[in-house]
Symmetry: C2
Subunit: 267 residues, 2 copies
Amino acid sequence: MTRFSLNQATTKRWPIDELVAGCVTAGVPAVGLWREEVAAFGLEKTASLIRDSGLAVSSLCRSGFFHEEDWYDNNRRAIEEAATLGTDTLVLVSGGLPGKSRDIDGARRHVSDAIGALVPDAQAAGVRLAIEALHPMFASDRCVVSTLGQALAIAAPYPADAVGVVIDTYHLWWDDQVWAGIDEAGRQGRIAAFQLADWITPLPEGVLLGRGLPGTGCVDMRRFATAVGNAGYRDWIEVEVFHEDVWSRPGPEVLAEAFAGYRAAAE
Amino acid sequence: MTRFSLNQATTKRWPIDELVAGCVTAGVPAVGLWREEVAAFGLEKTASLIRDSGLAVSSLCRSGFFHEEDWYDNNRRAIEEAATLGTDTLVLVSGGLPGKSRDIDGARRHVSDAIGALVPDAQAAGVRLAIEALHPMFASDRCVVSTLGQALAIAAPYPADAVGVVIDTYHLWWDDQVWAGIDEAGRQGRIAAFQLADWITPLPEGVLLGRGLPGTGCVDMRRFATAVGNAGYRDWIEVEVFHEDVWSRPGPEVLAEAFAGYRAAAE
C-alpha cells in the first residue's frame, strides 16, 4: 500500500470536501491538513468529513511561530486541533526574530524554552511536536531553526515520542550535514514527518511560494527517500508544495503529478 | 586610519572615475572592484586610475563559476586581472549545479578540484583565491559552497596564503556554526576578506538584489566585526550591498551611509 499523503497546501484552492473526495477516488490514503483551512471549513466538520472518508491525517501544519505574543495559547489550541483531527503529528514552524531584534541566539533559546513548555500538553493529548527546520532564507521572519542539526538539538531533552523532527527536502537539500542528521534522527526514533518538495529557480518575490513538485527541480528526491528509509522511517510521505502556478491548476491534475513525483522518489 | 573599503557593487551605477574621485574626497582609502565594471572601463585604464588616486584595491570580485565550461581560462584571466589591479585578493563564487544536475556532492567535489588546479597560477601571480560561501538560497544556481565550514574544508589542502575564505555577513549570519568557523579561519590565517551587508525582508524576485546597507537589517554586525577581529583579521572591511533602491541613489550619499554602517559595526 502506498505511503503517499497529499499535503493540502499543495492544492490550496481545492475545497476540502472536494479534496477529500478526490483523494478517495484516486486511492490516496492520507492527507496533511492546515489549521487555517480546517478552521475555515470548521474543525469538527473537517474531523467528521475525514473520519467518514477513511483517510488518515498524516500531519497538521502548522503551529509554532513562537515570536508571536500569544504563542502559548495558540500552540495549545493547535495541539487540541491535531487530536480532534486524529493525527499525532503537529508540525512546528518555530518563528523568526521578534520585532527589530538581532539576537538570533536568543530567539533560538526561546524556541527551546517554548517547546519545553508545550511538551506536557502535547503528551497529554497524544500529539507529537514535530520541529521543522526551515531553509535559512526564512531565518529572520519565519523560522530561526535552520538546520536538521538544530532541530535535533532542540528535541534532545525530550522523549522521542513527544518531540520529533520533520525531514523536508526543500528546506534541507543544500546541507551537507543532512545525511548524518537523518541517520541520527532515525537512531533516536525522531523522524515525525517526511515531506517532498523540489527546489526551482528563480525564486519569486518573498520566496515563500517558490517550491516545485517533486521531480521538477534539482533535489535528489530518491536519495532523501532512501536515507529516510534506511533510518527506519516507515510512515507517511507527504508532498507539500507552495507555488502560485501549482495552485492555479485543477486539484485532481496536481494530485496526480504529486503522486507520480512521490512514486518516482520513493517506490 | 579607517579600514573601510567601498565595494563597487554597492554603487553599481556610479561611473568608476567618479567613484574613485568620490572615495578620495571622502577620505575612503580602498575600493573593491568587479571584473565586469573594470572590463567596461578598461583594465589598464582602471589600474592606472587607481594607482594615480592612491586608493588600495581590497579585492576583485568575482571569479569562480566553476559550472561554466570555460572556467579554467576565465579564472586564469581573473588572476591576471587581480595582479594588474594591484590586489592580492580574488573572490571566488564557486558556481551552482551544472545543467540539470542533481548531484550537489559532485558539484562540490568539482569546486575543490578546480581550485586545486588554479593554485599554481594564483601563487605565481601573488594572488590569493578567496572562497566565498554564499547563502544556501544560492546553492543551485550560483554557489554550491554554502557554509564557512565547507569553504574551510575546500581550502584546507592548500597554503593559507594561496587559498583563503571570505567572511560575508549576509551569507553567513543565520549559521550557528559560523563563530567557531571564524575562530578556526583565524587560527589558520585564512580570512582573506570581510564584507558587510545586512539581511532585510521581503526578498525580491530572484533574491540576488535583496541586501541592505549595514544597520538596516537583522544582522548583528558588531558581533561579526568583533569575532573577525578576535580571529586576528586586521585588513580591509568592505561594504558590499546589492539592491535596486541603493543603486538608484546618488553614489556619494550611498558611500556616506555605507561608511557610517561600517563605523557603527567596526569602530
